[in-house]
């Protein structure tokens, strides 16, 4: 009863705000996708050395099951899941484990990992496992299959997908949303996956519908990928309730909460999860991967990423083995001149790389390379003139202006208590529009980490 009322209120809200098919606020950064969105996915060569951090997902690190010097076959289990919020790791290449030692990661931290030498003459054939048949499998068996395949959110968050698909006791899922928004500039990974792997996607949706018990599936696509939307609409299978919805282009529509609002007109409560509004959101590449791997019982050992940016000569969308060192990848695509900034992920939320010795992991959705000329970071920071551009950009309707001033004066508690700091998911819209060039996102990231630290102690 209460739930029903709440739903009704939300839909009234949606009508009142006249924002059907999109969310409040947001920004329009230049898309820069035309360099790669027409290029088909190509297989990347195997790097002679593969560097694999054992933990490539959020949650408990996996447990190694191999030893130094051991020979492994492509697709073989290297580390098993340690607990429920954890996934196993599979060998991306056939080769020999040179050593088990700390490896560098994008966060700068050294974490336990594996150095795997690819066998030069190997055929790199994949080993076959025990498939999961979606006709007969129970939801739990599907979830186990997803976990065994080592699948995490490929959009960037790297949260174990099976844990997300698990519907908590007492809740139910009505809508399964397949996230094909890809609102980050430069990246075309999902776009290409939708154009080239429709069958894998639909197969993935079959698994997902069954495991979540959702009544329907919606593939959300932004209007700048109309070709993908048309392509998928033309191939919709009859056996599952799936539709394609095109939404206007706006950043950060690819964020779970924003997408739910855009497609369903509901708002995920502050501090809540999509399941609180009876929805589950899965990235389209993740869906395709589920559809590709589960029938064969394989583990994830490669993924599609976009390597692009002004510093790259051979821009493209590549199917690349996980663990490929960044240095090798950049050599292969021939970066030109003196590169100055490399991001893993898109330029809005991606992380700047400090060390080329790190490797591509499951959560890497793209690599964007800038050279000296392209980076024109404003060097002068003006005081906040309260122009309100950030307030009108924030998709969560926070007040970044006030938050920024408070952060500058280290009033972290007030930020969290009065101004919903902890809701911020660092999409970067505020920093993007700020005419005073205030590093708002950095302020908030720092403030959040301090607030978390204070809460913990």
């Amino acid at each position: 009863m209460i739930n029903g009322l709440k739903g009704e209120k939300n839909s009234i809200d949606a009508v009142l705000t006249l924002h059907r098919h999109t969310f409040r606020h947001g920004v329009h950064p230049p898309e820069n996708k035309e360099d790669t969105n027409g290029l088909p996915i190509r297989r990347f060569p195997f790097s002679p050395l593969i560097i694999l951090p054992v933990a490539q997902h959020l949650g408990a690190p996996s447990k190694l099951v191999v030893k130094e010097g051991q020979e492994v076959v492509r697709g073989q289990l290297l580390a098993e899941a340690d607990g429920y919020v954890s996934v196993p790791l599979h060998a991306p290449v056939t080769g020999k484990i040179r050593k088990i030692a700390n490896v560098p990661t994008i966060s700068g931290k050294m974490v336990p990992g594996i150095y795997l030498e690819a066998a030069p003459s190997s055929t790199q054939e994949l080993i076959e496992g025990e498939g999961v048949d979606y006709h007969t499998a129970t939801p739990d068996e599907i979830l186990a299959g997803v976990q065994n395949a080592g699948i995490v959110g490929l959009g960037g968050a790297a949260f174990p997908t099976h844990a997300k698909l698990k519907i908590p006791e007492g809740k139910h899922c009505d809508d399964l949303i397949i996230n094909g928004i890809e609102c980050e500039p430069y990246l075309t990974t999902d776009h290409r996956v939708m154009l080239e792997q429709p069958n894998d996607i639909f197969m993935g949706i079959r698994y997902l519908l069954k495991s979540t018990g959702a009544k329907r599936a919606i593939i959300g696509i932004e209007a700048n990928k109309q070709d993908a939307a048309d392509f998928l609409s033309g191939r919709l299978p009859d056996d599952i309730p799936v539709t394609v919805e095109v939404v206007p282009v706006k950043y950060p529509q690819g964020a779970e909460k924003m997408l739910i609002t855009a497609l369903l007109g509901k708002e995920v409560p502050s501090g809540g999860l999509p399941i609180d509004v009876h929805a589950v959101v899965v990235n389209v590449a993740t869906t395709a991967e589920i559809g590709r791997l589960l029938p064969h019982g394989r583990g994830i050992q490669e993924r599609v990423i976009t390597i692009t940016g002004p510093g790259v000569n051979k821009k493209g969308n590549y199917l690349i083995p996980i663990g490929t060192p960044l240095r090798y990848a950049l050599d292969q695509v021939e970066v030109n001149g003196r590169i100055s900034e490399v991001y893993m992920g898109g330029p809005m939320m991606g992380v700047a790389v400090s060390n080329l010795d790190i490797s591509i992991v499951k959560g890497t959705s793209g690599i964007v390379v800038f050279t000296d000329q392209e980076v024109s970071r404003p060097d002068r920071i003006y005081p906040c003139i309260k122009c309100g551009a950030c307030v009108d950009a924030c998709p969560l309707s926070l007040n970044p202006s006030k938050l920024g001033i408070l952060a500058k004066f280290e009033a972290y508690d007030e930020m969290a208590k009065e101004y919903h700091l902890m809701d911020c998911f660092e999409c970067g819209s505020c920093s993007y529009v700020c005419p005073s060039h205030i590093p708002l996102v950095q302020y908030f990231r720092l403030s959040k980490s301090i607030v978390r630290k204070r809460k913990a102690s």
Binding site: I405, L406, F409
Partner: protein, 194 residues
Amino acid sequence: MNQESLSQIFINACLVNNFVLAYFLGICPFLGVSGKLGTATKMGGAVMFVMLISSICAYGIHALLVAVDAEFLQLISYIVVIASTVQLVEMFIKKMSPALFKALGIFLPLITTNCAILGLALFQTNKGYDFIQSIVYALGAGAGFTLALVLIAGFREQLEYAEVPKVIRGTILTLVIAGIMSLTFMGFSGLGTQ
């Protein structure tokens, strides 16, 4: 007898001749308590309440003094009665709501030495207001005091987070804002003459 209409008394006391910004009454609590909006509002409420009480007290005492022909005791009787009443109120609050007491802290006794309270009592007698006029006058003055306090507190709270030069922070800045507000309230002068 004073012929002023009630609305005119109220507007005069609240806006045109604002106790703080035009008469400089109650500056001490004004400087002290205007730092935080929450405290300012509470203080404003407290002052308004005390003003009302002292206005009533003063009216009664004045009548008494006139009756016994001892008007020369006006000042001392006013201040004594007001001071003790405030002290009673203070003790009462301390007993009933320690939180409120803590919030207003040392400023509750300072209400006693708030010129605005005594000034109100003296002015209403000087102007020869009757009982109802006195009460309206007290309400107007209290509202004006609260208004000034709240407006300044809004600024001060905002300016907590501003790169105000160090020497200016605090009293000096508050005085400057008060000065500008005082100029601004001049815009209200003459209200009601047309």
